[in-house]
């Protein structure tokens, strides 16, 4: 499996072919359809990440030492960006996720969408993804100690 850094570079390369923002946004709209969609039953307030402008739901399962994310948003472009985040972070060990530096968002020209003032839930979503990783990390360490 590629490293986080490699996947980020892949994404940066994919976006490099687009000359303007409209093509980038159109690509994000396309990617929105590839999102690992959260179980419909979990689209509730327990899983919601509230942004003022769009809503995001996030779940993480821990399987064979790896964190598997699924999510959903009611806004398409936000959903496209989430699908990229999941592509980079999902299926990895908690330690990798905790230490990941997410540089691709800036590099593909979407930095402004991560500004706290945008209130679209993305920044909170990244934080929540890390928190899941930290929680599963603590859980697995505890289990190791228990054995």
């Amino acid at each position: 499996m590629s490293t986080i850094q490699e996947v980020q570079q892949e994404i940066v390369d994919e976006f490099a072919v687009f000359d303007d923002w409209m093509d980038r946004y159109n690509y994000l709209i396309e990617l929105a359809n590839e999102l690992s969609v959260i179980d419909e039953k979990k689209k509730n307030n327990d899983y919601i990440i509230k942004g003022c402008q769009s809503r995001v739901w996030l779940n993480a399962e821990f399987e064979d030492g790896k964190v598997i994310y699924s999510a959903e948003s009611d806004a398409i472009i936000t959903r496209g960006i989430i699908s990229l985040l999941i592509r980079v972070l999902s299926g990895r060990e908690p330690g990798e996720i905790i230490n990941a530096k997410l540089e691709f968002i800036d590099q593909i020209g979407l930095k402004e969408n991560l500004s706290p003032t945008r209130a679209n839930g993305l920044l909170a979503m990244i934080k929540q993804m890390r928190l899941y990783a930290i929680a599963y990390d603590a859980k697995s360490k505890k289990n190791e100690q228990g054995e």
Binding site: Q53, S54, D74, A75, I77
Partner: protein, 409 residues
């Protein structure tokens, strides 16, 4: 020149911020309901006071302090004149509409509200005219009642008489809704309230820049607004209150300048308006606000209102012609606010694309979540119009909407 006879090119040139490009596109600024841009007349006076005449007011015995104090008190008289208050000491400077309502909720609440008393607001209030009253109700064990609006966004004023009881102590209503654009019949509300001896507070945050306000003619008891929504600086606002009430209300904040004599046993308070202006006030903000009001007076609020209505009606008509726009707020009495949704498109997606096209709108609940609860939604897009907006900008907005629809619909 517009048909209403004011020179839009000249007005636009007065606002330097409008000349810039955003993402390489000319800025089309339709977020005036959130804050308006500032004319040079305001920018220059704020700059001049910071560079030449800055000094703490009401305290100094020196030249600069006298100058700043005079300018501040002149600003108070300008506000008095602008809303036709009877006395200049009926004008209290605050930090903004939110600061104003919090002040009133505290001071009025301390003086007049007892357990079981009632305060009436409307379903279309900004959070700033809901939450301070809710906090007051929690403190005092009193009750908040709400005048509903219908699906057109018109206040169901016929329900007011049923809502008023002998326990009703205050009615607080927005003049113009920041989401629906509805111009509420405040004169009628004040008349009904006064028949029951209930005072009325008007939230003029969205009307001071669009409509003529005469507090004596309205016979309104309290009226509040912000400087930054009327082309003035941020961090300055106003409470107008009838003298008979302001004399009765206890101070909101304690500190310097609001006192007469301070001993550790007992402090006596200063007279109006200083009783409500603790600490170093935002005097340069007040002076800037005064410049903004003078700027409006030079053009004429009636002309501004007529022009803005022309642009609003044009915008409404152009959006309707697209065929996939739903407009929220269909009151025939409406000003400057155009909240809308694009069929099949999430507002957050539309907002992101608008931004790239240089169009500044607001999306979300616009700090009025109950309005959207009424419609079973979380919010909408909002284009809000100021005196410098044009029909060409409306055309550009509609072009942006078509592009959004192509990409996402």
């Amino acid at each position: 020149m517009s048909m209403t006879g004011f020179n839009i090119e000249k007005i636009r040139a007065d606002f330097p911020v409008l000349a810039q490009k955003v993402h390489n596109k000319p800025l089309v600024y339709f977020d005036n309901g959130a804050t308006t841009q500032k004319p040079l007349a305001v920018i220059d006076v704020v700059n001049r006071y910071h560079s030449e005449l800055n000094s703490s007011i009401h305290r100094g015995v020196h030249f600069l302090s006298d100058q700043a104090t005079n300018a501040y008190e002149n600003a108070r008289r300008e506000v008095q004149h602008y809303i036709n208050a009877k006395e200049s000491h009926e004008i209290i400077f605050t930090s903004g509409t939110t600061g104003s309502i919090n002040m009133l909720a505290f001071s009025f609440g301390e003086r007049y509200i007892r357990p079981g008393d009632e305060i009436i607001i409307t379903e279309m209030e900004h959070h700033a005219n809901i939450v301070p009253w809710q906090m007051l109700c929690e403190r005092k064990g009193s009750k908040l009642k709400v005048i509903p609006f219908n699906d057109l966004g018109i206040l169901q004023i016929e329900k007011l008489s049923e809502l008023i009881t002998e326990k009703t102590k205050l009615i607080s209503v927005t003049h113009i809704s920041n989401t629906l654009g509805t111009i509420n019949p405040i004169r009628e509300i004040i008349n009904i309230a006064h028949r029951h001896n209930v005072p009325v507070m008007i939230d003029a945050a969205q009307s001071i820049q669009h409509a003529r306000i005469d507090v004596q003619e309205l016979d309104v008891d309290f009226l509040v607004f912000s400087g930054h929504k009327v082309y003035g600086p941020t961090g300055i606002g106003v409470v107008y209150g009838k003298e008979k009430y302001l004399e009765e209300l206890p101070p909101y904040q304690g500190g310097g300048d609001m006192v007469d004599e301070v001993t550790f046993e007992k402090t006596s308070y200063n007279v109006l308006p200083f009783k409500f202006e603790a600490g170093t006030t935002n005097y340069i903000g007040a002076i800037g606000l005064s410049a903004a009001l003078q700027y409006i007076e030079d053009i004429g609020i009636a002309k501004i209102a007529a022009y803005e209505t022309e642009v609003l009606n044009y915008g409404t008509q152009q959006m309707e012609e697209l065929g996939y726009i739903r407009i929220y707020g269909r009151s025939p009495q409406k000003a400057s606010i155009l909240c809308f949704g694009i069929e099949g498109v999430h507002m957050a997606d539309a907002g992101m694309i608008f931004d790239k096209l240089g169009v500044a709108v607001r999306i979300g609940s616009h700090c009025a979540q109950p309005v959207w609860q009424h419609f079973g939604m979380t919010g909408a897009l909002r284009a809000s119009i100021a005196l410098y907006n044009t029909k060409e900008e409306i055309d550009y907005l509609c072009k942006a909407i078509r592009q959004v629809k192509t990409m996402l619909g």
